[in-house]
């Protein structure tokens, strides 16, 4: 029983991370059909913002020293700001470009951000102690669960609820949903394109920051590559969930998280290192079975 509970928490916390990532990708895809390859680098950027730029091996903690109540909003603001900035400087000029061109541009932007970090901080991973006491386990129904997992899951639930409320209950949310469905018609009803897109970028960047904070607390290291694997899974989740569907992206994120943890448990010991490879293979198979994803919205047929 406790083992099952432990697996469940592992799956939920990993799924949470993927769901937050997928949501960040899907929000932007919804309003401008952009698959943002720079998303993983937003995550890394937010984490590096905790440190003072230096190419020494030892990390010089900077923002990371601030009290949590200031630190968290600040890092989230950095994520949102970077994301909005990339919209203004780069993606705005690609509004009428085809999705493939935008995708490659975002890929290039991601590299610019990554090597910018490399230039300032060097490519060596550095260790940082941020809320390491959160890794201590707490007891839930006899199972020992790291507190961080509980916090990750709770944060994700709060974010999802808040975002749902925002989308369903506010004027801006209504406009975003309308824009995701049919941008031109929404504009003809007075919805301001730039505002909606910038908001989507801001939310997406804030989610990237949240992921960054969770990752750095979990691993205790900062690394310019740290966003890549989450971003990769997040992409896959948005495709599996049905491009354009926010709910689909979140569910698919949790599904992939669950599948990964399950693989870890059921695979023979020899095959465990290939856990992720099995997950990717499962994803490709799923796409063959449902090329438009599991929960494709009717409106999200690819614009040819």
């Amino acid at each position: 029983m406790t083992a099952v509970l432990q697996i469940l928490f592992d799956a939920l916390s990993l799924g949470s991370l993927y769901a937050l990532g997928a949501l960040g990708i899907a929000l932007i895809f919804g309003v401008m059909r952009l698959v943002n390859f720079a998303h993983g680098d937003y995550i890394a950027f937010c984490v590096f913002a905790l440190l003072w730029p230096s190419i020494d091996a030892a990390a010089i903690v900077f923002i990371g020293k601030l009290p949590s109540l200031i630190l968290i909003p600040l890092v989230i603001a950095i994520g949102a700001g970077l994301s909005v900035l990339s919209e203004i400087v780069v993606f705005r000029r690609f509004r009428n470009a085809n999705p493939a061109t935008m995708m490659i541009a975002s890929f290039a932007l991601g590299f610019v951000i990554r090597y910018f970090l490399l230039m300032l901080y060097s490519s060596r991973p550095k260790s940082i102690d941020l809320w390491s006491n959160l890794s201590l386990p707490i007891e839930i129904f006899g199972a020992r669960i790291p507190l961080l997992q509980v916090i990750t899951i709770c944060t994700t639930i709060v974010v999802l609820l808040a975002l749902t409320a925002f989308l369903k209950r506010t004027r801006f949310g209504l406009e975003m949903r309308a824009a995701a469905e049919n941008f031109t018609m929404a504009r003809m009803l007075g919805v301001r394109a730039n505002n909606v897109i910038m908001l989507a970028f801001a939310l997406s960047g804030a989610l990237a920051a949240a992921i960054g904070l969770i990752l750095v607390t979990q691993t205790g290291t900062v690394d310019i590559q740290m966003g890549v694997s989450v971003m990769l899974v997040a992409f896959i989740a948005t495709v599996i969930g049905g491009l354009g569907s926010l709910t689909g992206a979140v569910i698919a994120g949790f599904l992939i998280g669950g599948a990964t943890v399950l693989m870890q448990v059921i695979l023979p010991v020899d095959a465990r290192p290939f856990r992720d490879a099995f997950v990717y293979a499962a994803v490709i198979v799923t796409l063959i079975w449902r090329p438009n994803g599991l929960f494709a919205p009717k409106s999200a047929k690819q614009r040819v």
């Binding site: 209504l174 309308a178 919805v191």
Partner: protein, 240 residues
Amino acid sequence: MTLLEVKDVTVRYGQLTALRKASIGLDEGETLFVTGPNGAGKSTLLKAIAGVVSPREGEIRLDGRRISGRAPEEIARMGFSMVPEGREVFGGLTIEENLRLGVGMRADKDQAERDLEQVYAVFPMLRERRDRHAGVLSGGQQQMLVIGRALMAGPRLMAIDEPSLGLAPKVIDDVYAILLRLRDKSGLTLLIVEQSATRAMLTGGRMILMRSGEVALAGDARELARGDTLRAAYFGYGDH
């Protein structure tokens, strides 16, 4: 006084010229029917006014202010409301959310609430289903919804692309009855793309006929529809 002025507007899609030096004028409170065969540039004309396609040449003015080259949302905020072809309801939004979308740019929120009541009074079917997703509506119901949605934006000029397409004759009658009531009551200016000359004749107003991207004929709807001139121009024989 002139509300809308389209002057020598040319629109191209790549190699194809969809609109060739088209000019129309529309006074406040007036009704203008645009007719013509498929591919004549009627929808392109509406899209150019809405700012969805940008003219290669010429200019468009609304209320004396130049709107060509502006973003669709700005033009909408200046009092232009559009019902595009193909209806374009937001299927994932509820009916009431669809209706409320256009309200965002209005300053008179109280009046907007009264307008909502009025739209519901006119289309009671929409009120009954207000919390259902718009995707479940039938074609005719969607047409009512998009007209209601355009009205909720509180426009001074409303353009409708083929309001009768795919609707039962009875429903077309209802739709027109509502449009004309609004025109007479609140001075709404109407720009209607309509294939049926009879409809234009019954309603009255001015009419233009477009062919191959040009305005081929203009005049009083009733007079044009009566004679043979319209048919001649429509099919492209007769000399002018």
